[in-house]
Point group: C2
Chain length 192, copies 2
């Protein structure tokens, strides 16, 4: 198989589409973030990469709390809007009609319409170059009750979407189940 | 909308299914990692969260290089296998029939069958609790030539899959395109 070297690229598939929230200058603000990932298990932590000049980052640095909200596909327009506008110029919460609620933390605004909400306190902020990598401890997780099945989050009800850089940049829903995790590999284990 | 607090959870959707590689004790080894994310743009960086006792982590710490490989869905069995076995006990490269190649770095093993390969040098290792968060600078990106369309990576040819914790833990393919990114939000921008 021939390989083509393309230079250093930030290229992984799929990336989540999330809305990261913070209170800035006394108001809730949200930005679209796909450059994030789970960073630790015990205690639960998440990392989000934010460009240094982002308005949201001011609030994160000021209050040392933030939220990560997972939008469902019916919020794709709002999510994209939060990625192409700045809270320094518009009130995105108002434009998007987000209903904001708070959990344990007083300055981590959570979006009621998003089926999953994580509220986080800042543990580390690393300056890596263009971006600040903010590592947050997940203090609480909220799930919309109508997205649960037998008490567990149900991806078919959550309807998250991915951000996919490809020949064009697009948002994609999840598709068919390929295999059961921690299970399909057992067949190779027998052979191995 | 009623929200249910579920305690701190490592819950984002979707998460990528990747194979992180390193040379350990003179041999290539790969583990399944979904807890990863892009960490910086300029220069390109990625974070991967590895449990402290992982065999792969020994190689990462020893050589200060690693790889991130994006498998296509036809490698779901091998990917899962690499997640449920340890390189301390089996030679996963042999069992999975991975063809290993090297790029710029002498100790970041790349899997030829995976359509996307990132080779990385370690920039930071943070001890966050259960996991070491390894932050790597992406030194080069390789894409299988047959996964390009007009010189760009084509997600329809790459066929990546996501790791989805839901009522059960499963791997899911990508589905339909929901919207064009940096575009659909413009409609709200007019309203805003």
């Amino acid at each position: 198989m021939k390989k083509v070297a393309m230079g250093p690229q930030t290229l992984i598939y799929p990336m989540p589409a999330t809305l990261v929230g913070a209170n800035v200058n006394g108001k809730s603000n949200f930005m679209a973030v796909s450059w994030c990932g789970i960073a630790n298990s015990e205690p639960p932590m998440i990392s989000v990469a934010l460009r240094h000049n982002r308005y949201t980052l001011k609030g994160v640095r000021d209050k040392l709390t933030f939220s990560v909200n997972i939008p469902s596909r019916d919020l794709v327009e709002e999510t994209d809007y939060c990625g192409i506008t700045s809270g320094s110029k518009v009130n995105k919460t108002e434009v998007c009609h987000f209903k904001v609620f708070y959990g344990k933390l007083s300055d981590a605004p959570l979006i009621e319409q998003c089926p999953i909400n994580l509220e986080c306190t800042v543990v580390h902020i690393l300056d890596l170059g263009s971006h600040a990598l903010v590592i947050g401890r997940i203090e609480e997780t909220y799930v919309s009750e109508n997205c649960l099945t037998e008490g567990k989050p149900d991806v078919n009800k959550i309807e998250p979407f991915a951000y996919i850089p490809t020949t064009i940049q697009q948002y994609q829903a999840l598709g068919e189940v390929v295999a059961k995790a921690f299970s399909i590999g057992k067949e190779l284990k027998v052979k191995g």
